[in-house]
């Protein structure tokens, strides 16, 4: 890691004040924890994880809606990460229903084609990286016994909320490399804060941190790209076009956050035959959290997993209390795997 060492040395020389940078990507958190990056960074440089894990930010009301669909004898298809997320009454895994793990939405649509007598609902979570795959599948006109519960969220509105709110006192952001692979980074240019698009190798992340720290020192704010081998300013134009052909933004709650304007994606009226919420008249209710779980604070970047009284004791990957301990991209699960040595 010769390049990494050079970047790290420069970083140590440059960090002359307290700097807090947020990343908004579970894949970043996994890479940071796996490489042990926090333990080699300058003491005054803090990296916090924001709401970058789609499973974690899906509010309990939407998990409950998925469980309602199980009760109505639907076949549920979704990503493995979602199975253990606790709803008000158990999880998809413990529901006893016909719940199947699929690689992606196209496999869920195949189930619907193969089993025309079953009503198949895909629980569709994910940021802008994932939403275009759903759009492409909907545009391929899957059979009528197929629908989706859209739990999609958009990253920039959450960033706007975090910046407006200010509780995490952030000096800058590492932008999610694969969200930007699809979306580009033009829409982030409106935020007056240092931002760097970063990839997922330790060197990529260190380079992203270095570029962000340089901006903080200069008092500058712009979007820079430390992941040019994958990300361009305009992104994947075709994927973006398909996404907005099928979906429209709407105001929606995130776990740990209030309703954030225009931060969710729902199917446009012309595709409502594929909207499970309309098809089965499912109501998504707000559920107040009432355990000692602090996933909400972790997701807003104002608490670390190890700040939670439940962490590693009551709440473990086998017995998760909150969603951040369930998903492979949840900060708590990742810290449980890698970070116990770091206070």
């Amino acid at each position: 890691m010769a390049v990494g060492k050079e970047i790290l040395d420069t970083l140590h020389a440059l960090v002359d004040r307290d700097i807090t940078l947020m990343h908004i990507c579970g894949t970043h958190e996994a890479a940071i924890a796996r490489a042990g990056l926090r333990s080699v960074l300058p003491e005054r440089l803090k990296i916090v994880m924001g709401p970058g894990c789609p499973v974690c930010i899906t509010p309990q009301g939407e998990i409950d809606a998925a469980l309602d669909l199980v009760e109505r004898d639907c076949t549920i298809a979704t990503y493995g990460d979602l199975l253990r997320v606790p709803g008000t009454k158990g999880s998809l895994e413990s529901s006893g229903g016909d719940v199947r793990v699929v690689q992606g939405i196209h496999k869920a649509a195949e189930i619907a084609r193969r089993e025309p007598d079953r009503e198949v609902v895909f629980i569709s979570v994910g940021f802008e990286t994932t939403a275009p795959t759903v759009a492409a599948t909907i545009l391929s006109r899957p059979p009528e016994n197929f629908s989706i519960l859209s739990c999609h969220r958009l990253v920039p509105p959450a960033m706007a909320w975090l910046l407006g709110q200010g509780e995490a006192s952030l000096d800058g952001f590492l932008l999610p490399g694969h969200v930007c692979a699809v979306m580009g980074y033009e829409e982030y240019e409106r935020f007056p804060v240092p931002q760097v698009v970063a990839g997922f190798e330790p060197e990529d992340i260190l380079l992203g941190l270095l570029m962000a720290v340089q901006q903080v020192r200069e008092g500058a704010h712009r979007v820079e790209n430390a992941y040019p081998r994958v990300v361009t300013r305009e992104g994947n134009v075709k994927a973006k076009r398909l996404m907005y052909e099928v979906f429209e933004p709407y105001d929606v709650e995130w776990r740990g956050f209030p309703v954030i304007p225009a931060s969710g994606l729902r199917l446009k009226p012309e595709f409502e035959g594929y909207d499970a919420q309309k098809k089965y008249d499912i109501e998504i209710r707000h559920v107040d959290k009432h355990s000692a779980c602090i996933c909400d604070k972790v997701l807003r970047g104002i608490a670390r997993p190890s700040d939670c009284k439940l962490f590693g004791k009551v709440c473990t990957p086998r017995t998760p209390v909150g969603p951040c301990m369930v998903s492979h991209e949840g900060a708590c699960k990742i810290w449980h795997l890698y970070e116990s040595r770091r206070a």
């Binding site: 990507c25 579970g26 997922f200 992104g235 994927a239």
Partner: protein
């Protein structure tokens, strides 16, 4: 969730399906979101190619993605 792996396009079949090579695994993926030719590299996420990459970029990043991916599956 946003894990994505570079892969080489080996074959393009009817219906926007591509056979791609991840290095040690060949798999069919959906090509609805990209316009690619055989021999080009794509970034694959949840069974879909989500962006086209240059060949060099694909080879360079493949190994590292695989390591991160393996770690996530642990």
């Amino acid at each position: 969730m946003c894990i994505a792996m570079p892969a080489e396009v080996l074959e393009i079949k009817e219906g926007n399906i591509g056979v791609v090579d991840f290095g040690d695994l060949q798999q069919e993926v959906r090509l609805d979101l990209v316009d690619v030719k055989v021999g080009e590299f794509v970034l694959v996420h949840v069974g879909f190619a989500i962006q086209r990459l240059s060949r060099e970029e694909g080879l360079e990043t493949r190994e590292v993605f695989r390591q991160v991916y393996a770690a996530m599956e642990e």
